[in-house]
Symmetry: C2
């Protein structure tokens, strides 16, 4: 099935809003075996939207729209789509009742009659009730084309896709698509591809594809079969071969991130965490505490951006910094040990290095030391991460989480490639 | 001039990469007075790309492409665009010489003959030399349509737009476009619009438009005139009226962010900064230290995610926390005072509150106290930020930076609306 995502909203064309919906829906559609061949964005203009719909229906089997379902005069997606496909809009009494009840409860938002406009949907459609906002979505088929309309705000669009649109799309095909995401850290995309290229090119069903982002590689294994069990069975040997080829560089299958794995493992073991951050400036703490439930594990930490603060908050001997330099194996170790003790946590993480753009005259930009300490040991990885201030900081934080998950999984925390001789 | 942005890359259709280029270019094109009416994304497929070009040239005066200029077999943008517009590709000797020199210098990247493909550009085009990577961009006009081709990676695409494409576009019109961005914090977009709507609707040249994001509102004043001085002169009375209407909610004109203003003001005054973070978990430090040059001002801070750490790192009396609760005006004050002292900085910022999804049984999710302390005083804002974990955390961090800039500008740090009676 070939799909076009048609996003409606002038805010996207003004650059005020980034079209993350298109990316997030594409990812989900790919996992359902749908080929997304086009993204189109048009503004809140009926003529240009109608033209875009006419182009989309000429080339796609599935049109997924986002945005323009709300109560204001510039929310015109339903009207234009219904018109293009020759359907009337009709009031859906259940949605109207829901809207009235919603506004009775949420008195801070003023009800106007415009809000009822949201309960008008194309005749003979499947209604997608909105449990995350007010405007319902819907789906219908006409002339061999399936149309799915979703709200624009990501916190409504994505859960509605998962709860309503994904089952609708699965129901369109007798086949079931099943996929696994294999998550890899510590090896580049081109290295992964060169190890697996022969296999990837040979495969038709299941397929294997790689995606890379901020130092991580994700491999997606996808199979199509008559039922989920059969599709999963087809994925298994491919997944097994990838796991065998990449070994413990694979940190998980179908896991969201390094830090979410680390949080889960820490929780299981009843351990607490702390972090001492120089070049990352708070990023390690921020990424870890972005996870709901982090407070059960993360006790706190210190952002020691200047050397005096390394002494004041972590008790690091200024003579050590004077001798070895703030960007050194020894200071990374002292930071991890120091924060663990200062915070009273089981494990301390640390990062010190040069994010750039300026160097320190000693090390090149991108030189980073990350450390991990527990009651018995302290381990440090030496990294050379290249340039790009934000990139270097993100990679440094990812390395601390990778050290932590390897520590918790009983693997070498500092594999050979990260531990050059002293 | 009506523009279509045509982004080429299968990675965008797979959801692996978010199309930030389209948003960032749209923003820049709007500032040049260009109407962006369409964004289109197609994969690395010559047939679908040629079809998209055919549609774009039928409706736009300017087509800006991103991506597909590199050296690999799937980089086909130039070939397809040249073919569609009936131009040959020819070797540009200067670009070829540059590429050979580049690869001689960057020996870590292997040179192959494919790389020379990047030096082939459409005949009779304006070459945009790439100072940020290897693949050059270009521009040409054919049949009343202007075509601009830019590389895909944002760190090449955006500087090339600014350095090469923007001057090219300016040269297409006898008129000059001039715009100011007025940056506002602490008032909602709808409130701004209702104050200025009559004015906004009446205006033709200059124009005034609003954009909102994460609690901030940006107003863009744009004028078109025969030269820049005249256009700037036309903007002035509008800018003045907006500044008069919004008062000190305006934190700057043509400034990137609250934190960059705070950094600049701190640097001018020779002051140093520290931060004590609970619900933000490191975000205040991370945002501030994302700015190059932050190390001249930011000394460090403490992430005190659990109550013991508030005592251990900041010396806060556990009895105070027991009595008032960790989410309280008093603890926010004690955190700001404590971090200032612990780190030895002139100013301490603090944030404590509930980001959700879980509450504490006392306050609703979104209740946040942010504080600022110097040698003489400590001030606290009480905030009710609603839901959405990441949203609440970002808004809380923005409020600490807003307090800081108001403190440095000699304004009320806690205006009436943020300082409910005790």
């Amino acid at each position: 099935m070939n799909c076009e995502i048609l996003s409606v909203g002038t805010e996207l064309l003004l650059g005020n809003t980034v079209n993350t919906d298109a990316a997030d829906l594409s990812d989900r559609l790919a996992a359902l075996g749908v080929n997304v061949f086009w993204h189109t964005v048009v503004g809140d203009n009926p003529g240009r939207l109608a033209q875009a719909v006419s182009i989309a229906r000429s080339r796609a089997d599935l049109i997924v729209t986002t945005g323009g379902l709300g109560p204001t005069y510039d929310d015109l997606t339903k009207n234009v789509l219904a018109e293009c496909f020759g359907r009337k809009l009709e009031l859906h009494p259940e949605e109207a009742a829901f809207l009235k009840a919603w506004f009775a409860e949420n008195t801070s938002t003023k009800y106007t009659d415009n809000n009822l406009q949201q309960a008008y949907l194309p005749e003979r459609c499947t209604v997608f009730h909105n449990d995350w906002g007010t405007a319902p979505g819907c789906a219908f088929a006409e002339g061999g084309v399936h149309v799915i309309m979703l709200p624009g705000p990501p916190r409504e669009c994505l859960p509605m896709f998962d709860a309503c649109a994904a089952p609708y799309i699965k129901g369109l095909s007798a086949d079931v698509i099943f996929s696994h995401q294999i998550k890899v850290f510590g090896i580049g995309e081109s290295a992964v591809e060169s190890m697996l290229r022969a296999e990837m090119e040979r495969m038709q069903n299941p397929t294997l594809a790689t995606y890379a982002k901020f130092g991580e590689v994700m491999l997606r294994v996808t199979a199509k079969a008559a039922d989920e069990a059969a599709a999963e069975e087809m994925c298994r040997p491919v997944t097994d071969r990838v796991l065998a080829a990449l070994g413990d560089k694979v940190y998980g299958v179908d896991l969201p991130s390094l830090e979410s794995l680390a949080l889960e493992l820490m929780r299981q073991k009843g351990l607490t965490l702390s972090a001492a951050e120089s070049l990352t400036g708070g990023l390690i703490g921020q990424r870890f505490t972005a996870l709901p439930g982090a407070s059960a594990v993360f006790k706190g930490g210190a952002v020691t951006y200047c050397d005096e603060v390394k002494a004041a908050l972590l008790g690091i001997d200024p003579a050590l910094i004077a001798e070895k330099g703030a960007v050194s194996r020894q200071v990374a170790a002292a930071m991890a040990l120091g924060v663990r003790k200062a915070v009273g946590a089981d494990v301390g993480l640390s990062a010190t290095g040069l994010a750039g753009p300026d160097g320190d005259g000693v090390h090149p930009v991108g030189t980073v030391f990350v450390g991990l300490a527990d009651a018995d040991t302290v381990l440090v990885r030496e990294l050379h991460l290249g340039t790009g201030r934000e990139r270097v900081r993100q990679l440094a934080a990812s390395h601390t989480f990778d050290m932590l998950r390897r520590y918790l999984q009983g693997l070498d925390v500092v594999p050979e490639e990260y531990a050059p001789a002293e």
